[in-house]
Amino acid sequence: MKHIVIVGNGIAGITAARHIRKLSNNKITIISAESDHFYSRTALMYIFMGHMKYEHTKPYEDGFWKKNRLDLLRDYVEAVDVSQKTLKLQRQGKFAYDILIIASGSKSNKLGWPGQDLKGVQGLYNLQDLEAMEQTTKTATRAVIVGGGLIGIEMAEMLLTRKIPVTLLIREENYWENVLPPEEAALVSRQIKSHHVDLRNKTELQEILSDANGAVASVLTKNGEEIPCQLVGLTVGVSPAIDFLKGSTIKTDRGILVNRFFETNIEDIYAIGDCAQFIEPPIGRKAIEQVWYTGRMHGETLAYTICNQKVAYNPGPWFNSAKFMDIEYQIYGEVSAQPQAHEKHIYWEHENGQQSIRIVYHVATRKVIGFNLMGVRYKHAVCNAWLENEAIITEVMQNLRHANFDPEFFKKYEEDVVHQYNLMEPEQPIEVRKKKFWKIF
């Protein structure tokens, strides 16, 4: 029986622990400085907005851990002694391991702006950030958020529930334009504005200015405008939280360098989740994967390797989802922000300007490459099968209604998408088989 120590109780570390427990009888300890129990980081915004309380965000009851012999340790790892196979913990001191899994997650990026460490400046990644936000918003009357990513819009939505006016600075013309195609980026931008967020495009942060007490007084943009505010949200991405590895022989770059088995350069030390950086990323994947799902998949995969069923990380087609205010977003496969020469994009948008479907396929092979959905739900299983089996566009068009995952009675738009396709490819129009009316019974 080995002692497996996991640093970090986020989705990656916890998934690894759960699966190792399923597959083996090893002793497992999970160390976290952030919280006593695993909670869903993605739900931080809902705690702040009063949709849920912290305890609702815990995916397992507190008794689960003891029952499954997963030892939880609240402590902070200060250093790793690779040669002695020990950790140095802030409270407990030396802590021995046989196998070490580092799943320490991320920290919010600060890009070296003057004033970025002032009181009232923060990211949104962990419970401590949430607490800081609670404190600052007690008195704040205006907030500025820097960065047009997923966290930025979440923070804006959160602040609006406390009636704090928000200015959102984005570098691009439209929100999240480096990821979303122009139409979707515009769609989301409209959504942001309709919720009375002051969206400033093509605006970058120059400096954060301080008041007499070392707290935020205002921000200065590169356009020379000064916006008074008491809270600044820095949401320009996250990077691996690996400061505690400084001075160890574990090789790092931006993250902890791992191969496809999550092995670091040191035997018996692995890294998964946000803090891991692939030396050779899987095709079509980033070297550092920072979403919930990848953390979960890393954890599950590594558990097999650790339990003597060595397996390389091999993710299926990309998928992700988010919610922008009232608009749900789903993506399956690859949808490039700027249509490439070898791609064709079918794009349909509802006249309400809040729903859209985009399907991307390869011009020459006619294979489907990706799906982008706004305000419409599609089935992961169906889209995933099409992508894995390299289904051609006509097959997808003919069967598109099978992909719909919207609730019952919702209006379906698959016919409109096919119509759009037929306009693009008039030589081989698709006829959609209508659903038989008696099927509703």
């Binding site: 989705i11 869903s40 993605t42 739900a43 809902y46 907005m49 009063g50 949709h51 849920m52 309380k53 609702h56 965000t57 815990k58 995916p59 009851e61 529930t161 309709s194 919720h195 919930w292 799902y293 979960r296 998949m297 599950e300 995969t301 097999y304 397996v311 390389a312 990380y313 091999n314 993710p315 299926g316 087609p317 998928f319 989802s321 988010a322 919610k323 205010m325 009232d326 749900e328 789903q330 739900r377 599609y378 089935k379 992961h380 299983a381 995933n384 995952f405 919207d406 609730p407 019952e408 009675f409 919702f410 209006k411 019974f441």
Partner: protein, 526 residues
């Protein structure tokens, strides 16, 4: 602007409630001779009149003293009847004394008829100042919410003193609801003024004066309709919720309220045609069966209809659509839970322990209902009051008190602000237990999860009124098939990632193996 309208609305609503409560204390009570004839049974009347000197012609300003004196009259009447039975009449039939049930009815009816003052002089005005003002106030508060964009708006639910489960407003509302049910079931003589208020409406519907059950039915329907408007506005981005809310509003208004009242007007047996045994636990009571059997074709139809609902409709519809066809589309208790109770849905307990208690309790009540009904039917057919080793009348009384009134009413609604809006449906309703068994073992209904999209945020579990830990299934990619699920569809609506979908589909593969899509590293051999 909307804030001002909303605040005005809330002020009017609170004023209406205050007037309604105040109306219990502003009347005088005087018992007139002609009233006695209408209320007291012919054989008891002479004895009653002998004992009424004390109270006759006197005007009471306090209801408590009036009721106290009335109690004395009833007691001494019973003494007179006893004396009469033993001494006075050797050759004639005995006069039955006023039992507890009769005494209760007499008190309510006599008090109601003895009431004098603003309530009788300005009955319509008072109706407007209470119910009218309440409706207007509530709608003024509710309708401006349409200004918010459509979509899930659960902001501050756990910050609110009303909906967080621990706030003072929640305690007050819960306390008032509990008090209301206790008065309604066991001390209706203290709320006769409210019944009196209903007289104009009752006369126009069924041609007679209002009973306490008319009053309760009216209030119940009003709650579902007004809060149904709120429900529709809150979830107007989802056609599913709009349609099912209109459905519960319709079934309550038409089937539970109007049709039974119209049947009374037509001198027919009155019946809520959508209320199914064993929720409708007195369906097989002797008086109901006798009334149906003696009412010609319509009575016979109602009897057969009621039985067909139990043996045919429940299994059939539940097979095709799951429990939801009844519990969140048709049922009155469900209707109230989904409208009046919606603000409290997040307060249900999601723990495994609660689930364990739930299964014991709800199936226990089902067994209780079956035993009780068997006993009642046994007595009906054989005339023998003892069934096995029990007295069928006692069982029936205990069931009515414990389950019918205390559980379904006091706890079922009164505990909304403490334990969520489905306490009764989850822990106590025997019909829900029966439909749940069908849903669990033989149905096409399930909630499916969307591949690997779950982020374990917990919105689904939090807002499940039945206390199902939906996330536990969603995060492992497993279909949710639970006997308790009423198919309200809120889990699917509050999910920020589009993970959940209520579906009817082929039974094959319904339970499925848990599967999360997206990771090809692991080949599942489950």
């Amino acid at each position: 602007m909307t804030k001002i309208i909303q605040k005005t609305g809330m002020a009017l609503f609170i004023a209406a409630i205050a007037i309604l409560i105040g109306s219990l204390f502003i009347s005088n009570y005087q018992l007139a001779d002609e009233v006695l004839k209408e209320v007291i049974s012919e054989s008891q009347l002479p004895h009653f009149k002998q004992n009424i000197e004390e109270i006759k012609g006197r005007t009471y300003t306090s209801k408590f003293i009036f009721l106290n004196d009335l109690d004395k009259v009833i007691q001494s009447t019973n003494t007179s009847i006893n004396d009469y039975n033993q001494i006075g009449n050797q050759n004639l039939d005995n006069v039955s004394s006023i039992d507890d049930y009769n005494a209760g009815e007499y008190k309510v009816k006599l008090t109601k008829k003895a009431t004098q003052g603003i309530l009788t002089d300005h009955s319509l005005l008072m109706l407007w100042l209470t119910f009218g003002l309440g409706i207007i106030g509530a709608l003024l508060y509710i309708i401006p919410k349409i200004a918010k964009s459509p979509g899930i708006k659960n902001d501050h639910i756990f910050h609110s003193a009303n909906t967080s489960g621990k706030g003072w407003i929640g305690y007050i509302i819960g306390g008032l609801l509990i008090l209301f049910y206790v008065l309604l079931y066991w001390y209706p003589q203290y709320i006769t003024e409210w019944i009196l208020l209903m007289d104009p409406i009752s006369y126009s519907l069924n041609g007679g004066e209002a009973s306490r059950w008319f009053f309760y039915g009216f209030l119940y329907t009003l709650a579902i309709v007004v809060m149904g408007v709120r429900m529709i506005i809150k979830y107007r981005h989802s056609k599913y919720h709009i349609i099912r809310t209109i459905s519960v509003m319709f079934f309550q208004t038409a089937f539970a309220f109007l049709i039974p009242e119209i049947l009374i007007r037509l001198n027919q047996p009155s019946m809520d045609l959508k209320n199914i045994w064993p929720l409708n636990y007195n369906f097989f009571y002797d008086y109901n069966l006798e009334s149906l059997l003696s009412s010609g074709n319509l009575g016979l139809f109602m009897l057969i209809w009621g039985i067909l609902l139990i043996v045919l409709a429940v299994p059939l519809f539940s097979y095709f659509y799951g429990k939801r066809w009844y519990c969140s589309w048709v049922c009155g208790c469900g209707g109230l839970a989904e409208t009046l109770g919606d603000p409290y849905r997040q307060l249900s307990d999601k723990s495994v322990k609660a689930w364990k208690i739930e299964r014991w309790m709800i199936h226990g009540v089902l067994v209780f209902a079956i035993v009780m009904t068997s006993a009642v039917l046994y007595t009906f057919f054989t005339g023998s009051g003892s069934f096995l080793f029990m007295d069928s009348y006692t069982i029936r009384q205990v069931y009515g008190f414990l389950i019918g009134a205390a559980f379904a009413g006091v706890v079922g609604v009164g505990f909304y602000p403490f334990m969520g809006n489905r306490v009764w449906c989850r822990f106590g309703c025997p019909l829900a237990a029966y439909i749940g068994l069908v849903q669990r073992f033989k149905s096409r209904f399930r909630i499916t999860t969307n591949g690997g999209q779950c982020i374990s945020c917990g919105n689904c579990s939090t807002y499940c009124e039945m206390g199902i830990d939906v996330r536990w299934y969603a995060q492992r990619g497993q279909n949710i098939i639970r006997s308790s699920c009423v198919g309200c569809g809120i889990c699917s609506s509050v999910c920020p990632r589009g993970v959940l979908k209520l579906e009817n589909g082929p039974e094959a593969g319904r339970f499925g193996a848990p599967i999360l899509i997206g990771n090809k590293s692991i080949t599942l051999e489950k």
